[in-house]
Amino acid sequence: MEEVIAIAIGVLAASGVWLVLRPRTFQVVMGLCLLSYGVNLFIFSMGSLFIGKEPIIKDSVPQDLLHYTDPLPQALVLTAIVISFAMTALFLVVLLASRGLTGTDHVDGREPKE
């Protein structure tokens, strides 16, 4: 399972970085989205990965560390998801404003000279 998650994070981050370095604003937005997905998975995996373990104490499960997973990274991921979602929405608004003001979707606000 660790390999799969690691490869997934790697692919997300790599494609995110590549897209962020592209010259069109929409590609940058997509890149930032993919990067934040990769980061969220990364935070989640930092709490060590388990299948079928409870994050919060349950009555029918014995109360020791063997039967539970770390709930903190999950809480952190939730916060990070909300924040990155909001920031992406805001970035989209600025993108549209920039497109409207400059008439181009290049990140510098003008087409490169040939």
Binding site: V39, L72, I83, V94, A97
Partner: protein, 560 residues
């Protein structure tokens, strides 16, 4: 005593509440919102001053106030901490916030919607970032202040603002991702996010995990250094700050200081002398990175043609000096650096406000000087478009000849320049002198042990003086161009409200010149307590949660 601990949360809650009221008031009632905003900002400043006095007066070792917002025992719940350093930053934020707001109330707050709500949220993020003692909460407050700053950065709209805002936002979103990766790595290695707890856990990290810990800390530091404006992570800063509207840019003068504050706080806690194998990790990076920043910014300042741009570059110079000074991990140097931080932040804020007033007459009357060919007509959108008057009373912005305005602008410009260059007689000189003195006497004057001054210290000393020379050349050229040209041009019409904040900021700097000793004592004490992180750790970890009413009743029953 009890009331004072509750007051620690007030600087965060007050702006939050005010912002909520602003949003409920909607788009109308701008004068009312401005008044509420001013009242709330002044109250916030008052609270900060109270907290500062409190850290001075209490007999607690290190004078550290701890507040548990959720009433959970420390490593588990979130915690707010005020010590000398955070109290100083709180007061500085309060002063700059009130000044920027007063300036904005004259004209700028009408240039777009929701200025006042965003302004309060920005204050909340700043206060929160200075108070929190938890890595993840720091992230949340960073995002709060960044989200508000994105809105404020675009305030007034226009092409230059939107295109530099686009860069500003994407760089900061990337930096936030790095912040999260770093925080997650540190959590993965140490199992805690509480700063005090981290300080205890880091010496105990096994050798196999140390590389991972250092990688996490380095990634985290990249996020902070991008915020603080270290070369080569600072290319976004100059276009963004110099195209932001004047009151917003004045607020942004403290934003780079947030990065510097967090670096100082985390680095002195996490990688102090007691951190075992990790002691002073990355110190050289700070020293040489700071020096590279000074060099690049000082060269660029010589080429700058616009006053806003010069002000942004001066921010970079001071950021470089501060980063480099922190990297030496030398208490008396950090104390001097904190004094320099206060003095330069006040002066830079005043300069941003002043720049708009000085450039106002130029941009309205003549063709703008092109700063560079790359950005065609950089001036077009920095001022509101012609024909649109933002004033409530629709008075002419330019045209009335009032003799005192040019005198005021000229004198204020000279004062700002003296402060930023670090020439006598103003407080900038005292700040720089303190830095030079601390560099040459690594142990302080009392210990006359002959420790040779290191090469890095000599290099920083030379750079301090050379960057002052570069600023001197640039500022005198700018002053001659703006004030001594024989060409007749109408002096700008200034509002009283626009002059008051500049006057207040400069008066504070002049006061600092005469009353430098108390502040220097204070910053030295702050640096001293940063040098002894165990006091901070003890104060935070030693705080007990308030018992519930039942538990307290049970205790009272047992006692008699």
């Amino acid at each position: 005593m009890m009331a004072m601990t509750h007051l620690i949360a007030a600087p965060i809650l007050l702006p939050l509440l005010t912002a909520a009221i602003m949003l409920m008031l909607g788009e109308k009632h701008r004068p009312l919102k401005a008044r509420i905003n001013l009242f709330s900002s002044l109250l916030g400043l008052g609270i900060s001053v109270l907290l500062l006095q409190w850290t001075q007066s209490t007999g607690v070792p290190g004078s550290i106030g701890v507040y548990l917002p959720g009433n959970w025992q420390v490593p588990f719940g979130i915690v707010l901490v005020v010590d000398r350093l955070s109290a100083l930053m709180l007061v500085l934020t309060g002063i700059i916030g009130v000044s920027a707001l007063l300036f904005a109330m004259a004209r700028w707050d009408g240039a777009g919607s929701s200025f006042h709500a965003l302004f309060q949220i920005q204050l909340m993020g700043l206060y929160g970032a200075f108070l929190t003692a938890d890595l993840f909460n720091l992230f949340v407050f960073f995002e709060v202040l960044l989200a508000a700053s994105y809105g404020l950065m675009l305030h007034g709209s226009g092409r230059a603002r939107v295109s530099s805002g686009l860069h500003y936002i994407s760089i900061n979103l990337l930096a936030s991702s790095l912040f999260l990766i770093g925080a997650a790595l540190i959590y993965g290695v140490t199992g805690t996010l509480n700063m005090a707890d981290l300080a205890l856990k880091i010496p105990l990290v096994p050798e196999a995990d140390r590389g991972l810990l250092h990688a996490g800390a380095a990634i985290l530091a990249v996020a902070f250094l991008a915020k603080a404006g270290m070369w080569p992570l600072n290319f976004w800063l100059v276009p963004a700050y110099s195209s932001a509207s004047a009151p917003v840019a004045a607020m942004f003068a403290i934003m780079t200081k947030v990065g510097i504050y967090t670096l100082l706080r985390l680095w002195t806690l996490l990688f102090s002398g007691q951190a075992g194998a990790s002691a002073y990790f990355g110190g050289d990076w700070l020293i040489y990175g700071g020096m590279a920043t000074i060099i690049c910014a000082a060269v660029a300042i010589l080429a700058a043609q616009r006053l806003e741009r010069m002000a942004s570059l001066s921010i970079l110079v001071s950021a470089g000096i501060l980063l480099s000074a922190i990297g030496f991990a030398q208490p008396n140097l950090i104390g001097a650096a904190l004094f320099y931080l206060v003095s330069s932040t006040l002066a830079l804020s005043a300069l941003f406000l002043l720049a708009e007033l000085i450039e106002r007459s130029r941009s309205a009357n003549e063709m703008p000087l092109y700063d560079e060919e790359l950005m065609p007509r950089p001036m077009e959108s920095l001022q509101p478009p012609k024909g649109i008057n933002l004033d409530d009373e629709q008075k002419a912005v330019v045209g009335q000849v009032i003799p005192w305005t040019m005198a005021f602008l000229g004198l204020s410009f000279i004062a700002c320049a003296l402060l930023i260059i670090g020439m006598p007689p103003l407080s900038g000189f005292i700040g720089k002198l303190g830095l030079l003195h601390a560099l040459l006497n690594p142990l302080g004057l009392d210990n006359s042990g002959d420790i040779p001054v290191s090469n890095a210290a000599w290099a920083l000393l030379a750079l301090l003086i050379l960057s002052g020379l570069a600023s001197l050349i640039a500022f005198s050229r700018m002053g001659i161009q703006r004030f001594w040209t024989p060409q007749e041009r109408p002096s700008p019409a200034l509002r009283r409200l626009e002059c008051v904040p500049i006057f207040a900021l400069l008066a504070l700097s002049i006061l600092l010149t005469f009353k430098a000793e108390p502040l220097l004592r204070y910053t030295q004490a702050a640096a001293e307590s940063l040098n002894n992180p165990e006091r901070y750790v003890m104060a935070v970890l030693g705080t007990r949660a308030v018992p519930s009413p039942e538990a307290r009743a049970a205790m009272l029953e047992v006692q008699p």
